[in-house]
Structure formats: structure tokens, C-alpha cells
């Protein structure tokens, strides 16, 4: 069930390097339910936060194979099996002519599928209490915002606050957002 409120701790950094360092320390400190909001992707953040590599490429591979099978199947079925027609003396199974569409279908399935799955995955791959969208933190402008959720097993407000402050974060504060956070 949906949480009726979101609780956690915010603190932000001004450069990606600070954020990276902070992330590594939060990870090493054993926090699990934490996240970073950044205005642009920060290289190395995955490792710093202890995340695994994204599984999107697997989706791409499977969809690519689906695309190939779909296109080849459609073409073969239509041209050879369903209604073979003599087009310019070519054999019904003029397989070299099927290559372009097969390739395009592969790209089509793989690319669009990956994009859609990535967007969905990005929204699904989350901690129990993801960071709320707090515009004034500037997470889409120039701030690298650390969020530690109250659901974290190691959550202990005072300890966490002290820890985050020790990372050099600015604007450290608790957030308690209740109900529909409708913009």
C-alpha cells in the first residue's frame, strides 16, 4: 500500500565530486534506502552508491531477437507460405530481399522497447520511500541532493543527521511530506 507520508533526510552538495565522495561514504556506512538527485548523470555514481549495472541491455537483446523473428516470420509467411507470388522471376523465398526489413524490425523493437522499458524501470527501481520532488532543492539545477529515507534499517534521526552533516552537505533537514504531493 502507498505510504501516506514520506519521511527522510535531505542534504545537498555543490559539485559532483563532493556528491561522489558522499555517496561512497553513505554506502560504506551501511545505509541502503538512500538516493541521490542530480541535475545531470554523474559518472561513477553507480559504483559509489553500490548499484549493480543496469539490466536494460538484456531487454534490448531479447527484443532485438523478437524483432528479427517477427520480421522474418512475417515476410516468410506472407511471401512463401500464405500466397506465394512470382515477383520478377525471383524465388518465393527470396531471402536476401528480406534482410533490410528484418534489420529495421530488429532496431525498431530493440530501440523503442529499450526506451520504454528504461523509463518504466527508472520509476520502478526505487527505494520504499523515494525522495520527494522538492523543487527548491535545485536537484535539476545545480545541486546534488542526498536523500536518506526513514525506512532505512539504520534510520536513527539524530545519528543520520549528524552523519550527513559530517559529509559536508548543505541545507540538511528532515522532510515529512504527507498525503498527495500534487504539484
Amino acid at each position: 500500500m502507498m505510504p501516506t507520508s514520506t519521511r527522510g533526510l535531505l542534504g545537498h552538495f555543490c559539485t559532483p565530486d563532493e556528491a561522489l565522495a558522499a555517496a561512497a561514504r553513505v554506502r560504506d556506512a551501511g545505509y541502503r534506502h538512500f538516493d541521490f538527485l542530480t541535475p545531470f548523470p554523474v559518472h561513477g555514481m553507480e559504483e559509489a552508491m553500490g548499484q549493480k549495472r543496469s539490466w536494460i541491455p538484456w531487454v534490448t537483446g531479447v527484443l532485438a531477437i523478437c524483432g528479427i523473428l517477427f520480421a522474418l516470420g512475417l515476410q516468410y509467411w506472407a511471401m512463401v507460405f500464405d500466397w506465394p507470388l512470382n515477383h520478377g522471376g525471383k524465388p518465393f523465398n527470396a531471402w536476401p530481399a528480406f534482410i533490410p526489413i528484418t534489420f529495421e524490425a530488429m532496431v525498431f523493437w530493440a530501440a523503442l522497447g529499450s526506451a520504454v522499458v528504461a523509463v518504466i524501470a527508472g520509476k520502478r527501481d526505487t527505494i520504499p520511500q523515494p525522495p520527494p520532488l522538492l523543487v527548491e532543492t535545485g536537484a535539476t539545477v545545480d545541486r546534488f541532493v542526498l536523500w536518506i529515507s526513514a525506512t532505512d534499517p539504520r534510520w536513527e534521526p539524530a545519528e543520520v543527521e549528524a552523519f550527513v552533516r559530517s559529509l559536508g552537505a548543505n541545507g540538511v533537514r528532515f522532510v515529512d511530506v504527507s498525503g498527495g504531493n500534487d504539484a
Binding site: 502507498m2 514520506t6 520478377g88 522471376g89 525471383k90 498527495g180 500534487d182
Partner: protein
């Protein structure tokens, strides 16, 4: 709205169940609405009220009638009572041929510009108003009665004995005089025959019996109605049974006939007589050949023409002329000299014809039976017309009836016929439209088309043919014979009265629909003709024997009467004196006026098919041009279409220039039959009107050898060329198989050499049943173009108009490519070859190649069509499905033969919207050309009328293949292969020379399979591996003297 908090997911604005049901209901309603809206529109199916029994086995099928059209027997195909196709009758033995004009007669019949009811023209004072037949006939009969011998009937050439009899009977009753006028009548030959044999009845050369043919300006192939094509073609193949003939042509303009010559010398028209006399001098005087050798009169007449002198004057190589003389001498008894054509309408014409007769006599052509006697053609003379014009002007004629003649348009300008008509108190025009002459008449009594009325014709070999109507008159018109018989009856002629009475009786008897026999016709002409016919057959008109004979004649088309009188006596040596008075040739430039190949004298000028037909030599459609020798053309710095002023002294005409290959340097030529002003919206104003340039010299019309000067008139008029480029270098583009006889004898594959294609990556498809294929023998083909018109009529091919041709939107499925063969250049290649270098086009070797869809086994067009609108059928056809075609034009681009035609416009419907007409004025023109009632009646219901935006092309007449299949199925042979000859495509049907053969390639016994296996057979563009189904058989030029 979506929340901004990603983990907060409140109630989405999805549909609840009630909304879902509501939406579902709406969808269902919408689909129901769409479904009912898309049900087929209610269409009525109207049966007969009472179906005639005669249709019991023929509904939805073609019926064939034999009739005669302008003196040529034809076979007319009708569908549901509408004539849709004219073709040469199979096994015709009349000695006449079918010309393009006959084939296109369908369009004349459905010409929307025909007069649809009688008109009071009132001599052009104000607009014509409708009149009644009764009023016109009453006045006409009254005038006839009163005018007596001061009444004149002016007709065109009369081939109809029935009509002649009716006219004669009227003449007996009232004194009506008859004058026939045919603007293209060639009376030079008749004069020469009269001089030489005492009888103005030229015999008919038998080209199939001659091994050597010398043409002196001969135009036997330019006048297909004269029926020489099959006989000529019979000996044009190298393996002809009787041996291949050799044809040498001397002419000033490259004609269709000259294009088939094995050897061709440029001699201008006015010089031809002298050259012919020179040859005669060489043979008779020089070599003492033939019965006339030693005759002093002949020798004296020929004295001024020693070969060397003649050759020098004509600018010819004397040795070459001598070689021709050698050939003639060697071929004596098998050699034939044919003069005539436009060259005979020079002032030297009679002398030219006589020289030809002299040569034939010398070579023993008459004795060897190379001529057959023929019935005298009925032609009018210019002298008679000139006399009539004088009488008209002098007020000696009180009533003038004009039927089938258009003197205001085509009489020599000197006669000023229009003014002469003003002096006649009563002029009645019996034309089919308000033409140039009718505008000066009091009344226009509209004439029926020959397909709508009864008539007959006498044919050269003694055959008599009946012109039977194949359709009810479309408009309130009458046949000339019907009218004259009616007048005859009114004036008390017994035969006419009997006919009219019989017709009245037939009209009074209600038709019996279920009767086995057709009802008697209510046409007076019908009964008149039957009486005539009974007299000719010496049978009682009421007897069953006559009935049988009559019906057989109708079925077979003609009845063989007594053979024409044998050839007139012997050559009178004194006739040679005609040569002595030979007028000197023109100095400087001379003009030849020649009848337009399709339009003839221009009487069918409102016919879109004929106007659009590209001249086989010039490839110009919609008009004509002044032909200039290439060298003169280049010297003047002209471009095709630059306007020139032709000044013949007595008249001047402005015409666009055309670089005519093979033209004599000192000769220019202009077609006749163009430039009409009152034939209708299709033909009005196309091309220059050249008739005024003809000169009346005594009682002879001079239409060639006219001294003229030309100069630039300023301006340019685009010529509607149906062809892109003229010249091919067969070393580079081996697309026309062509060789000489000597090369062919040493290697029967000679001329078919081409680069072979590589091996195919794929196995070929197999064709389990038939595999349709065609073979075209280029040695037989003379480029006449009748296949083109046959195809156009059969397949509902629209007319695109002059602009359409200029823009390159021609629609004809079949075309005859005409190339000039560039001499081999030993591997050197100049780009200039495409521009027609003088070396090629001054003495061109003409090659004709009928081009149509090749139905390639590996058709490039099929591969590229994404819509599956064109695929290959199991019997080898390249199918084009219009209803599936969306019009990418990719197939046409990828067609190496460029035979696919795209409907850039909607030709078949007249779109009346004002916005549309404002946007595209061209479209009104298309409607004029194709879609004005009753033009749509010409359409063949077996073939889809294509809409805009679809591709079309030759289908090998799939409708005929399917009809043959259905017929076989009905006959209990379903699933069996069709026998050879069961399918006759329209082009083959129209071909007079048998150049086209069609059939099943899988049947080893079929004609096409045998031809395709010949070493002469070549399939084009082997290098790109398209595997056409059409084999072209090498054109072999007979170079063996």
C-alpha cells in the same frame, strides 16, 4: 493529472466501468453506422423488357460483322450493339487493305462533333438553326425537278455501284449531273496507261511475284488501303519460299515505303521521270533489251536521256544507276518497276508513270504476269472540278448537292470554291458535320456514318462487298443512298419506288422479336441494294436461292463477281513520245505535298486516334511539319519546330521545320490533310493547311515538284514527337536485330549479337501450362502502325492530346520505334551519334521495331512494386492489376523498354467543376478528346477503363486469352491447353503482314515456338537478364543484287 511525487500514485483518471460501457456502446454504434454507411450502394439491374432471341447466345460476348468501309472490306466487332473495333477481315482476298483511317472509323462514328440533326445553315448568315428532314427533302426534290440539268451532285470518289446506279437513275429522271472529286486522286497513272495501252485502267502490280522491285517514288506502303502490304511482306523474309525480293527505291523524301528499301537513292520528285527514262534508255537503247528494243519511236523519245547525262543532272553516281540497270536486266521476267505516289503528282508525273510502264514492258513484267488486272478505280479529276467551279461562278448551276466532298477545304486555291458557291441559288450539303464547305450551304442534311447505313462497293479483283450497318443511327442522320433512293422514288424512278415501298412495308410490320430471321430493314437503301444485287446475281429477289446468296455475302463480306477484264493490249511504242515533252525539273528547292499517313485527305481530322498517331517516319503526332534535308536544316541553323514560311508564289504557308532523314537536299515536303478549321474541337487548327500550295495546271493538279522558297518566319512551335532519339549505334546498343542477306547466309545468327547476361542466381520458375509469347519478324514489319491503332481500340487506350505528347504523357501501349542505324565505327564512339550526324541521317538505314510489354520472365517492374499490383502469372504474363495499383511509377522507371504508361490525368471522365477547369485547363481538353458523349460507347467492356494514378501497359490482350479459356471451358475442354491460334491479340489481328505471331511457347508445335527457336530470333537486353517473352526476328536487308 499525474502527480509530481513519483511514489504518490493517486487515482488515475482512467475510465470507470460505467464509462467503459458508455464508450463501448459509442464504438459499437459508430461501427454499426460505418457498416451501414459502407454497404454497397443500391444498384439497379435492368433486364430486357423482351429479349430478342438473336441475343440468346451472345449476350456479353462480341459479335463480328463484315462490311465495307470507304472501299475496303473490314470486320467490325460489336458489343451489345455498339461497334468497338475495326479489323482487317481474315482471309480477305479483295486486293484492298485496311488503313489507319478504317481502323479509327470507330472514333468517327462516335465523334461528338458530328451533326446530330438537319440544320438550316443559311450560308453562314447567323448561327445555324435546326431544320426538319421533311423541309429539306421537299425543297431538294423541288429543286431537282426544277433545275434539271442545272443541278449538280458533287461527291467524293464513288466506290459504290449501288450509289452510282441511284445517281444515274436520278440523272435520267431529272438531268442531275454528277461530278466526283477526290483531292488525292492520282490520275497520272491512268493517263500513262491510256497512252500506252489505250485504256485508262492501271493494272495492279503483284509484289509477291517480283524478285526485283524498283520503286520510282513508289508509295505502296504509304497507302495501306491499296492492299500491297501482305504481298510485299511475303517475300521480305530471307527464307521466303519464293526467295527474298530485293527492293530498290528512288525517291526524294524518305517515305514509309522507302524505309523498307534494300537500297535507296535520293532523287527529287521532278527528276524521277528523267532518271526512269535514263534507265529505260540504258536498257532499251543501250543494251537492246525487251520487245521495244530497236523501235525507232522509243529510241527517239529516249534519246535525250542517256544514263550518264541523267545521272549527272540528278547528282547521282552513274555507276550506281548502271548497277541498278544491271540488276533489272538480270532480273528480267522477275523484275517489276513501280512508280507513283506523290512523285506522280508532279508536272512530270504522267511521264514518270509512262517511263515505268516502258521499263516494265522492257523487262517483260506484263508478259511474266507480274501485273494483275484490276477494276478501274472511280476517281474524280481536277478538270471536272475546275469545270464545275467555272459553271458555278457563271451561274450555270441552280442547285448543288455536295456529298462526301469538301472542296472549300481541299480544292486548289485557284478555284476559290467558297466564292463560287455564293453564285449558286441552292446548296445542300450532305456532310456528316458542319464542315468548311457546309458553312456555305443553305442546309446541312447530316449523313450517316457508313456503319449506320446500307451501301456497297466494287473491289479491285472483281469482288462486290455489301456495306451493312452495324449499329442503328446514333443521331437523326441518313445514309446517302437512302436519301437518293427516296428522292428517286419521289421523282418516279421505279426501282427506287419499289425499294421505298418495301421499306415502308417493313416499317409497318411490327418486328417479331422471337423470329429466327432478322426483320427486314426499313431502309430504302437496303431494298434498293437487294434489287441491284439480285440483278447482279441474275436471281429472283424473292427466291430462296437469292436469300441464301445474299446472307452468305453478308456473312462473308463480299461476293466474287466476274474477274476484271484482262490487261489491256500491248504497249504502244508511240506512247513514249510523252517522255519527249517532259517538263524540266524545278530549279532550286522543290516542294512535295504528300497525304498525311493517318489522316489522308483530312476528312477524318476530328479523330483523336488518327491525330495522335505518330507518323512512322517523322514520329510527329498532332500536326505535321515541313521536312527539310538534314544538311539544309543544319546549314540554316534550324531547330525542330522553328517556323518557316514556304512560298510557292501563288500561296504561302507557315509550318514548323523538321529535320527529315533521307530527304533530298533540294526538296522539302509538307503533309496534306491538316489545318482544318471546321471539323470539330479535336482536329481544328492542328498543323498547317498545305492544300493552298497545290497548283492547278490545266486539268492536272501539281502537288509535288513545286518550286518554292523558304525562309524563317520567326517563332517556334513545339512538335509533338512520340519518340526521343532517332539514331542507334548497334555496336553499343544492340537492341534491333539487323543484318544483310549475305551476312545472314554465312551466319543465320548474324545481327542478333549482343552481350550475354551472367548466370542467374536463382532457379527459374516453371510454367506448367501455357507460356504466352510473341515473335515479331522485323523483316516483315514495315512500320505501318496498324498494330498501334488496333491496340488502342481494343484496350481503351485514351488520347492524351498534343500537349500530352509534348509533355511525354503518351498512353499507347504499343509503339513502333523507328531508328536510323549508325554505321559501325570500329569501337570508336562519339557522343554526337545521338544527335543524328549527317553521315547517318542523309542516307539512313531505317529500322522499325514494334515495342510493347515484353512480359519478361524476370520482369524488373514486378520486383519493385510494393503493392503487388504487378506480378507474373503462371502462364508467363506480366500482369498489371489496375485496381491494386497505387501509382508509385517505380515499375515504369525500372522498365528497360519503357512500355509502361501512367495515367497522369483522369482521361476517361469529364470533370465539370469550374474550380477544376480553372486550375487545369488541360483537363477540359482531355474530356474533349475522350469523354464527351457518345465517345464512351467506343470502350471495350472487356477491358477496364483506367482511372488516374494507375499504371497500365500491354496485357497480351488478356481479355482475349480469358475469353478463349472460357470458350474452351464451355466446350468441355476446361483445364486443357489452348490450341495454337486460339488467342489472337489485337495487334496481331491488325497486322497486315503477319509480322506478329502469338502463342504458347510451351507447345513445341506452335508457330511462336518455332519462330522463337529460329537462329534469327533475338530477345532483347540479354545482358541484364530480364528474359523477355518477345522474340524479335532479324531484319534482313537484301544486299544481294
Amino acid at each position: 493529472m499525474r502527480p509530481t511525487d513519483p511514489h504518490e500514485r493517486p487515482e488515475p483518471t482512467a475510465l470507470d466501468r460505467r464509462e467503459f460501457l458508455r464508450l463501448g456502446g459509442t464504438l459499437a454504434a459508430a461501427s454499426a453506422l460505418a457498416t451501414t454507411g459502407c454497404q454497397p450502394p443500391q444498384e439497379a439491374t435492368i433486364p430486357f423488357h423482351d429479349m430478342p432471341e438473336s441475343l440468346a447466345d451472345g449476350l456479353g460476348r462480341a459479335r463480328f460483322y463484315r462490311t465495307v468501309l470507304a472501299g475496303s472490306p473490314v470486320q467490325v466487332t460489336t458489343r451489345e450493339g455498339r461497334p468497338i473495333l475495326v479489323a482487317p477481315p481474315p482471309d480477305d482476298r479483295s486486293g484492298r487493305g485496311v488503313a489507319l483511317r478504317h481502323q479509327a472509323a470507330i472514333m468517327d462514328l462516335y465523334d461528338p462533333d458530328r451533326a446530330r440533326h438537319p440544320l438550316a445553315v443559311r450560308r453562314g448568315q447567323g448561327a445555324p438553326v435546326p431544320a426538319s428532314w421533311a423541309a429539306i427533302e421537299t425543297e431538294a426534290i423541288d429543286r431537282l425537278r426544277r433545275a434539271g440539268s442545272r443541278a449538280v451532285l458533287l461527291t467524293g470518289p464513288l466506290a459504290s455501284p449501288g450509289l452510282a446506279a441511284a445517281i444515274a437513275a436520278l440523272g435520267e429522271r431529272t438531268g442531275l449531273r454528277h461530278v466526283a472529286w477526290s483531292p488525292l486522286a492520282a490520275d497520272a497513272a491512268a493517263r500513262a496507261w491510256e497512252h500506252a495501252f489505250g485504256e485508262p485502267r492501271p493494272a495492279r502490280p503483284r509484289l509477291d511475284r517480283a524478285a526485283v522491285i524498283l520503286g520510282l517514288g513508289a508509295e505502296f506502303l504509304d497507302r495501306p488501303e491499296e492492299g500491297f502490304e501482305p504481298e510485299f511482306a511475303a517475300r521480305r523474309v530471307p527464307d521466303a519460299e519464293a526467295g527474298m525480293s530485293r527492293f530498290i527505291q528512288l525517291e526524294g523524301r524518305l517515305t514509309l515505303t522507302g524505309a523498307s528499301a534494300d537500297e535507296r537513292l535520293r532523287v527529287r520528285d521532278s527528276e524521277l521521270a528523267a532518271v526512269a527514262a535514263g534507265l529505260a534508255h540504258e536498257l532499251v537503247v543501250g543494251r537492246g533489251l525487251g520487245p521495244l528494243a530497236g523501235d525507232p519511236e522509243v529510241a527517239a523519245a529516249l534519246a535525250p536521256f542517256p544514263l550518264a547525262t541523267v545521272a549527272e543532272r540528278a547528282g547521282l553516281d552513274a555507276a550506281r544507276l548502271g548497277a541498278i540497270a544491271d540488276e533489272l536486266q538480270a532480273g528480267a521476267g522477275r523484275a517489276l518497276v513501280v512508280a507513283g505516289g506523290s512523285a506522280s503528282s508532279t508536272a512530270q508525273g504522267p511521264a514518270l508513270e509512262l517511263a515505268a510502264l516502258l521499263l516494265n514492258e522492257t523487262l517483260g513484267a506484263f508478259a511474266a504476269g507480274l501485273f494483275e488486272s484490276a477494276a478501274a478505280p472511280a476517281t474524280g479529276t481536277a478538270g471536272a472540278l475546275a469545270a464545275l467551279a467555272a459553271e458555278l461562278r457563271d451561274g450555270k448551276v441552280e442547285a448543288l448537292f455536295i456529298a462526301g466532298a469538301n472542296p472549300v477545304y481541299d480544292a486548289p486555291a485557284a478555284l476559290d470554291f467558297a466564292t463560287a458557291l455564293e453564285a449558286v441559288p441552292f446548296v445542300l450539303s450532305l456532310a456528316d458535320r458542319l464542315d468548311e464547305t457546309s458553312r456555305y450551304a443553305d442546309y446541312l442534311a447530316p449523313a450517316s456514318h457508313p456503319f449506320e447505313c446500307w451501301g456497297d462497293a466494287a473491289l479491285p479483283r472483281g469482288l462486290f462487298a455489301v456495306q451493312q450497318p452495324v449499329v442503328q443511327p446514333l443521331h437523326d442522320t441518313r445514309g446517302l443512298l437512302d436519301l437518293l433512293v427516296g428522292w428517286g422514288a419521289a421523282l418516279g424512278d421505279p426501282a427506287a419506288s419499289a425499294a421505298v415501298a418495301a421499306a415502308a412495308a417493313a416499317l409497318a410490320t411490327p418486328p417479331e422479336p422471337a423470329a429466327a430471321m432478322p426483320a427486314p430493314s426499313p431502309s430504302p437503301a437496303y431494298h434498293y441494294l437487294r434489287a441491284e444485287w439480285a440483278a447482279r446475281l441474275a436471281l429472283d429477289p424473292a427466291s430462296p436461292a437469292f436469300r441464301t446468296a445474299w446472307e452468305e455475302t453478308l456473312r462473308e463480306g463480299a461476293w466474287q463477281g466476274p474477274a476484271p477484264a484482262p490487261l489491256p493490249g500491248t504497249f504502244a511504242p508511240g506512247a513514249a513520245a510523252l517522255l519527249a515533252g517532259l517538263p524540266p525539273p524545278a530549279t532550286g528547292l522543290e516542294l512535295q505535298l504528300y497525304p498525311h499517313l493517318a489522316l489522308g485527305d483530312g476528312r477524318s481530322a476530328n479523330n483523336g486516334w488518327l491525330q495522335e498517331f505518330p507518323d512512322p517516319i517523322t514520329r510527329i503526332s498532332w500536326g505535321g511539319a515541313l521536312s527539310l534535308a538534314p544538311r539544309r536544316f543544319d546549314e540554316m541553323g534550324l531547330a525542330n519546330g522553328d517556323l518557316l514560311l514556304v512560298d510557292a508564289g501563288h500561296a504561302q504557308v507557315v509550318a514548323p521545320a523538321y529535320r527529315h532523314a533521307g530527304m533530298h537536299y533540294d526538296q522539302v515536303a509538307l503533309p496534306l490533310g491538316l489545318g482544318r478549321t471546321a471539323c470539330g474541337v479535336i482536329g481544328n487548327g492542328t498543323g498547317p493547311d498545305a492544300w493552298p500550295l497545290r497548283q492547278l495546271a490545266g486539268d492536272q493538279i501539281v502537288a509535288a515538284g513545286l518550286p518554292v522558297t523558304i525562309r524563317r518566319a520567326g517563332g517556334h512551335e513545339a512538335l509533338a514527337f512520340a519518340q526521343g532519339s532517332d539514331v542507334i549505334d548497334r555496336d553499343r546498343r544492340p537492341i534491333v536485330p539487323f543484318t544483310t542477306r549475305s551476312a545472314w547466309e554465312s551466319d543465320p545468327r548474324a545481327g542478333t549479337e549482343q552481350q550475354e547476361g551472367g548466370p542467374s542466381a536463382w532457379p527459374a520458375h516453371d510454367y506448367p501450362a501455357e507460356r504466352w509469347a510473341m515473335a515479331i519478324d522485323l523483316s516483315r514489319c514495315n512500320g505501318c502502325g496498324k498494330c498501334v491503332l488496333g491496340c488502342q481500340a481494343e484496350n481503351n487506350v485514351p488520347v492524351v492530346g498534343r500537349l500530352g505528347i509534348i509533355e511525354g504523357r503518351e498512353m499507347s501501349w504499343m509503339r513502333i520505334d523507328r531508328y536510323y542505324d549508325a554505321p559501325r565505327r570500329d569501337g570508336r564512339w562519339g557522343a554526337e551519334v545521338w544527335d543524328g550526324p549527317l553521315a547517318v541521317v542523309e542516307e539512313p538505314q531505317t529500322l522499325f521495331e514494334p515495342m510493347l510489354c515484353q512480359h519478361c520472365a524476370n520482369a524488373p517492374c514486378e520486383t519493385v512494386c510494393p503493392f503487388i499490383a504487378t506480378t507474373h502469372s503462371a502462364d508467363g504474363l506480366n500482369q498489371q492489376i489496375y485496381n491494386r495499383c497505387v501509382g508509385t511509377r517505380y515499375c515504369a522507371n525500372n522498365c528497360p523498354f519503357k512500355v509502361r504508361r501512367f495515367n497522369f490525368w483522369e482521361y476517361s471522365t469529364a470533370r465539370e467543376s469550374a474550380l477544376f477547369r480553372w486550375l487545369e485547363p488541360r483537363l477540359s481538353r482531355h474530356a474533349d478528346l475522350n469523354a464527351r458523349a457518345p465517345m464512351q460507347m467506343k470502350n471495350n467492356p472487356e477491358v477496364t477503363v483506367r482511372s488516374r494514378g494507375v499504371m497500365e501497359k500491354c496485357s497480351f490482350c488478356i481479355q482475349r486469352i480469358m475469353a478463349a479459356r472460357a470458350a474452351a471451358t464451355r466446350a468441355g475442354r476446361s483445364g486443357q491447353r489452348l490450341p495454337d491460334g486460339a488467342v489472337v491479340p489485337a495487334c496481331l489481328e491488325a497486322c497486315p503482314t503477319g509480322a506478329i505471331v502469338f502463342g504458347d511457347l510451351n507447345d513445341p508445335g506452335s508457330a511462336v515456338a518455332r519462330l522463337a527457336a529460329q537462329p534469327r530470333a533475338m530477345r532483347l537486353l540479354a545482358a541484364i537478364g530480364v528474359e523477355p517473352s518477345i522474340s524479335y526476328l532479324t531484319k534482313v536487308r537484301n544486299d544481294k543484287a
